[in-house]
Point group: C2
């Protein structure tokens, strides 16, 4: 079952503003036979996530950029096609950072076996994977909602936001979601069971958000930035906590400043006058708590107490378009590409 | 010794941009005889502090604004001239929120006796008072510098900044001060003993600051905002902490946004990519730790391990001009008005 070539999608150009299809290129590439300690993998599902936008730019961030001409980075659920490592056998299902490829040969370090009997394998990329752990760790170690407090999260139908709200409710807090469009709002309210949901496309979105948070906001889980932040800021209570895990609304802005007015002074004034905490984080920081997360949230998913939703696109060749949609909020649930 | 009238300075107009002398008015006012449980006080020293600028504006903050026509708020060292409370005798020296007045009659709640034998009474308004406690609590509970880390603070010759740097050094961190002009810089370097000092008036201030922080910045104690923040931001290390206790550079900006570019998106991007913590605070939040502060810092002041400097202006009538100078950095050390 081992192969000698694969299909991959490389970064063809760095985006200048919004990502375009021409920023990517589909090509064939060789795949090595595994050396001692390596495995060869066939990708089953590729995860598409907002952080990938940052890797396309050539600027300093928490991880280096993808080099031009190299495969886009990404995590996948993959199946072993050849193994020279005793822990992995042909047919095993693993989580692996394969990148946007149909096949990859990788060293065993960094692989993690999934048990298909415990949960659907796709959950390893969503509710029981990095997006879920981002929600869990940001809420547990930064947001720290108390019973009766109000937690607001945007992209509430997505893999991070949907778990933030559900975990907040389990901790006795009130969950208010922000989502785009009637379908997503209905899902957040009716299927996820958030206490309230507000459509950010509504013309009077700030007023609706304020009405949905009559006691103000104690935790705002920031994953979008931009206009949503401007609507949340006046609602933040004294000592509110803002875990910042993403800023999808501004990923296309480039390195230069946006046109004015300069909103920084007013933001800092609120940070001061209401003793706010703004805290950026990447889930890696809390990696030691991943096993706790897997156990707690895994059990809640298995029992049905926590719901999740996936949006699956077929074919690696459709990854660029699906990714462009993700940055515009076109997906509905955790976005995955079924590669094989 | 009790009196029936006093001189006071009231808020005559709310500033529109920079504070002007016409925003204040000197006038006579009656002073009541103390009722049961009250004391009458003669002010010895009035403290002038940047936070007072915020109280002059009619906008929501952590404390209500000073009403037009009412005395400016403020803390003072004062002497009891008449007492109807058993804990206070005529001649006692107290800390009291008298406002900008020569005399005041106040209830005993909120008064604190000073022991002139332990430290000069003026220190109760500076290094052993609210400014000192702001430095202590922001550093201890938010900045949390570790040995070998770099702590940067602006207004380093002032009462907050000077203590931030000295406490950071006691905890084994490297202290880098920012001050305006050669005299203040020399004081910070030579008398306070900071590891480095940078003049924010230098044309190449950002480059000098970067050179003074070869290992980046782990704690930036924010008390100014504006251009200094812009120079510090690129130097912040991963997981850097930013206690925000003041924004003196932007107090005159008013409620509306400044002209662009909009610096907020770039700031939030750094918060995210370097897992920064921005945390506003008012020292009241940590009031339970005030006795520890007084004991620790009091001992270090008494032993001479911690230095401080005062800038004393004579006469209540000169308070407005001195306060306007404070907002421009014209004072050199803790600014006090000797009232009597």
């Amino acid at each position: 079952m081992s192969v000698s070539s694969c299909t991959q999608i490389v970064l063809a150009a760095r985006p200048n503003g919004p990502v375009r299809e021409t920023d990517f290129r589909l090509e064939s590439a060789p795949v090595a036979e595994p050396a001692e300690g390596e495995v060869q993998l066939q990708v089953r599902y590729l995860s598409l996530d907002p952080y990938m936008r940052g890797r396309m730019d050539d600027r300093k961030s928490y991880a280096p950029p993808v080099p031009l001409g190299q495969p886009m980075e990404g995590e996948a659920v993959a199946q072993v096609t050849a193994s020279r490592h005793p822990a992995y056998a042909v047919g095993d299902i693993l989580l692996a950072r394969t990148g946007w490829r149909t096949h990859a040969t990788l060293p065993a370090a960094g692989l993690r076996k999934l048990d298909p009997a415990l949960a659907p394998i796709t959950t390893g990329l969503g509710v029981l994977g990095m997006p879920g752990f981002t929600a869990y760790s940001g809420l547990r170690f930064i947001g720290k909602p108390k019973a009766g407090e109000t937690v607001v999260v945007a992209a509430a139908s997505g893999p991070v936001g949907s778990l933030v709200g559900q975990l907040a409710q389990i901790q006795g807090a009130r969950a208010v979601g922000i989502a785009g469009g009637a379908d997503k709002c209905a899902y957040v309210r009716d299927e996820l069971g958030f206490d309230a949901v507000v459509d950010h496309r509504a013309a009077d979105f700030p007023a609706r958000l304020a009405a949905a948070c009559p006691d103000g906001v104690d935790v705002y889980f920031e994953n979008v930035g931009g206009a949503v932040w401007q609507a949340v800021l006046p609602l933040l209570n004294k000592y509110a906590r803002v875990p910042v895990c993403g800023l999808i609304a501004q990923y296309d802005d480039g390195a230069s400043g946006k046109d004015g007015p300069d909103r920084l002074p007013a933001t800092m004034r609120e940070v001061l006058s209401r003793s706010l905490t703004l805290r950026g984080f990447i889930n890696f920081e809390f990696a030691q708590h991943f096993p706790d997360f897997l156990q707690e949230v895994g059990a809640a998913v298995a029992s049905g107490r926590i719901s999740y939703r996936e949006d699956i696109v077929d074919g690696l060749e459709n990854a660029p378009r699906a990714f462009m949609g993700l940055l515009k909020g076109a997906n509905f649930g955790k976005l995955l590409v079924r590669v094989s």
